[in-house]
């Protein structure tokens, strides 16, 4: 076999994958019991552009109907099935645990713009180092508090999350939440409520996505 095996996801489901791969290539299961990789063969790996990204996403979303899956990063490919089988065997426990974590759940992305207005007039000069740091501390605190008002209510509705990292200038909030499939509508409603109720905060959320952000480690 020449070319590459382009891999979309790992699963512990026994079902046949639905749909086709990129460029309508047939999907195949690469078995490494109890796991399997879902892949398609290609002469050359795909080139990166917007269209192929959406196409890839569609393939992975179709695979969600198999049951719990771990989506792979875009562009993941191996030369031979043996390499994939070996990897699945080597990281078996890791993948089984991850599948348990995401079973029956989807990922929702949340972005927010927190408009904490810049502070008042510049401080008297010369400014001491202490004053500078204390002012920075105050700014940080206000930003963090505002972010918590968005994050906490949403985390409460989620099985797990990748919390927002602290940001500096940008005042941008970005987080991912692992939500039960049955809870997606309620989650969306809550986002809408927070968007309306919270002052100086604009929130948007996209999803449901396959659980890209929850394939490794643990997060709550």
């Amino acid at each position: 076999m020449s070319g590459v095996l382009y891999v979309y996801a790992i699963t512990d489901s026994l079902a046949q994958p639905r749909g086709t791969g990129l460029g309508e290539a047939p999907l195949q299961r690469i078995e490494s019991r109890p796991l399997a990789g879902i892949a398609s063969e290609h002469a050359v790996p795909p080139e990166l552009d917007e269209k192929v990204l959406w196409e890839h996403e569609q393939v992975v979303e179709n695979l969600m109907s198999m049951g719990a899956i771990l989506p792979l990063r875009f562009g993941s490919s191996v030369e031979h099935a043996e390499a994939l089988i070996a990897m699945l065997a080597e990281r078996r426990e890791e993948f089984l645990a991850a599948l348990e974590r995401v079973r029956g759940a989807v990922e929702i992305s949340v972005r927010a713009e927190v408009s904490v207005a810049p502070t008042e007039a510049p401080p008297p000069r010369p400014q001491s180092g202490t004053a500078y740091l204390l002012r920075r501390a105050e700014e940080e605190r206000r930003e963090r508090d505002a972010a918590e008002l968005v994050h906490q209510p949403l985390a409460a509705l989620a099985r797990g999350c990748v919390p927002p990292a602290s940001t500096h200038d940008r005042r941008q909030f970005k987080a991912a939440y692992l939500v039960e499939e049955s809870g997606v509508e309620a989650f969306g409603n809550r986002v809408g409520e927070l968007n309306t109720d919270l002052e100086g905060v604009r929130i948007s959320s996209t999803g449901p996505w396959p659980p890209y952000s929850f394939v490794a480690g643990g997060s709550t």
Binding site: L48, H56, F74, F95, S115, P122, Y132, D169, Y212, S213
Partner: protein
């Protein structure tokens, strides 16, 4: 000693100028966003924008990684940048998860180091 004071004064004046610029930039961004809304940029377009960003975040930054790196398909992107992004992500993770213990002990910043 007065030379030091002069220096400090210059420094804080510079810092103040910077902050003014930041404030202006912040105001400009808000104006731009308001303008977009007034111009009636279609909601469909905005949906697509944020959807694309979130898609890219997930497909290129998330998911299971095999062979410890993005292989083959992302030929356009300099691998140095890939490594940098991973570095930043791990620093953010350290900050988030281990931040407290990092601050317990550690080298203090020395003014002379700069």
């Amino acid at each position: 000693m007065s030379e030091q004071r002069e220096q400090m004064q210059r420094r804080s004046e510079e810092a103040a100028r910077r902050r003014d610029r930041d404030r202006d930039a912040w105001r400009k961004r808000n104006e731009a966003s308001r303008e977009r809304q007034e111009r009636g940029v279609s909601r469909a377009l905005r949906d697509r924008d944020v959807s694309l960003l979130d898609l890219v975040d997930r497909l290129l930054d998330g998911g299971v990684v095999i062979h410890g790196d993005i292989t083959l398909a992302v030929a356009d992107v300099d691998l140095i940048y890939v490594g940098l992004r991973a570095l930043i992500a791990s620093v953010e993770t350290i900050e988030r998860d281990v931040g407290i213990s990092l601050s317990a002990k550690g080298p203090a910043l020395k003014a002379s180091a700069l």
